[in-house]
Amino acid sequence: MKLGSIKYLTGEGVKSAWVNRLMSLASIGVLVACMVIIGLAILISENVNVAVGKLEQQNVVMVYMKDYSWALYNKQEAETEDTTSKETDSETEKKETDENGIGEDDYLIHNDEEANALCDKIEKLENVSEVEFVSSEEGLKTIKESMLEGQEEYFTFLDEEYGNPLPNAAKVHMKDMAKFDETIKQIKKMDEVSSIQSQDDLAETIAAIKDGIGVAGIWIISILMIIALVIVSNTIRVTMYNRKLDISIMKAVGATDAFVRIPFVVEGVIIGLISAVIAEVLLYFCYRIATETIISALGTSDIVKYGDMAWILLLVFIGIGIIAGVLGSVIIITKYLKHEGSEFSAF
């Protein structure tokens, strides 16, 4: 197609949108409403994702290692009990396994180097985002700090009398809570792992929230896209009937269907693009008011900034506008040309 024809057709589309400005305005109004709702859905889901992400970060899995120092502690404890109960020495000496039936040779972590190697091994798992090595000393310190006043004395007593009761551990953060069980199984399979402490319920809740937001988002966007399509189609339908005479002449002189279609598509796209820009500005103000209210009411600052999402939202709106404009007009005009458009002499 020649440049002159493209200019002409684009001009016709712009002119048509202007001539039918009342109808175009009505369409823009509804499209803006659809886009703002879609934008709000995106912003809400992004905020929930941030909140859930924080929860995910807090949902730490503690992986306890088969730690030799811990085995020594258990053995020492067993020896003390033997002495107090005055049982035979030979029996103690014979004890080559702990209460779990695991021998000293089975304890695969003997030093920090081996512990760190295990951490690296866990970190290599696909769904693991971060692994922190927590030595037995750090673990005990953390437990003492988390105890109420007076309660930590029990651990101090244990530590002083028998040594640190905690094994070395790894604090594991996961990327996706939906793969929680699978990842736990992978960690459990590792020979160096003694036991795992996790909050399975929280992981399930987080995964459910994320799934729910995803499904709701898809539904909201799909329904509003259909509404947008119907609205643009109706505007184009009105324009098309207003231009029935033009179409009949176009067909009579040998215009192709594509040529007849272009001004309507241009009109649809113009309506879509204007709606996108208005929706972006409107959503900015709505979101600003909403976030200011939430921040002042809840005192939280963990809210996604509009600036961080502005470009994505604008692109989404432009995308919706173009898709609704092009599809809405193409569907209507194709249908018209197929059924009525060729009957120019019966016009």
Binding site: M1, G4, V19, L245, A252, V253, T256, F259, F344
Partner: protein
Amino acid sequence: MEEQLLSSESFAPSKPIIEFRGVSKTYPGGTHALKDVNIKINKGEFVFVVGSSGAGKSTFMKLIMREEKANTGIIKVNGFNLTNMKRKQVPLLRRTMGIVFQDFRLIPTMNVFQNVAFAMYVVGETGSHIRREVSKALSKVGLGDKARSMPNQLSGGEQQRVGLARALVNSPDLIIADEPTGNVDPNMSYEIVNMLTEINKQGTTILMVTHDHNLVRDFKHRVIMLDGGMIVADNAGGDAE
């Protein structure tokens, strides 16, 4: 008027520009619009198509313009075989013909120049070529000085001449005029047919539907008469009235 009537000499006929072989058309409601029509119209001819309402004139024209498809038979127009023609080829066929409507079909929001230029824009023409050809077409129909006028500022005859200029502007081989004099006064009717005759003299084939017996009588062109979907008279070669 006498001078106008004298210009009825046909352009020397050569090979067929329109050919119907055993063409029948029945509409979904069961109306038999055309029955086994066989006809040839040669390049350069001027043909009147006459007949009462429901005789099959409109269907005959619609089949030529490929607005309708025949149920049986073969139709050839301007080198195109319409029998199995694909939808996307239809615009190419229509670019070889100019159509003049009874109700003028001028776009009221466009001036005379724009109405004529519109026919060139929609087939992809641009720029100075359009300006030149539109001016030429308007001069041919005697409206060179009305280029900036709006359709509602023109008389019925002038509006039909704009329609004629629009049909001419793409230099078609065939002009199909569907009762072009139906909405104009008798004097203007003669003027329009005279213009068509002048265009015909330059080699363009003219196919004109009319109810006006005076025009048919006064302009000595070929006449095809339809009745009940059949050709009941055809003075091809001047051997029939």
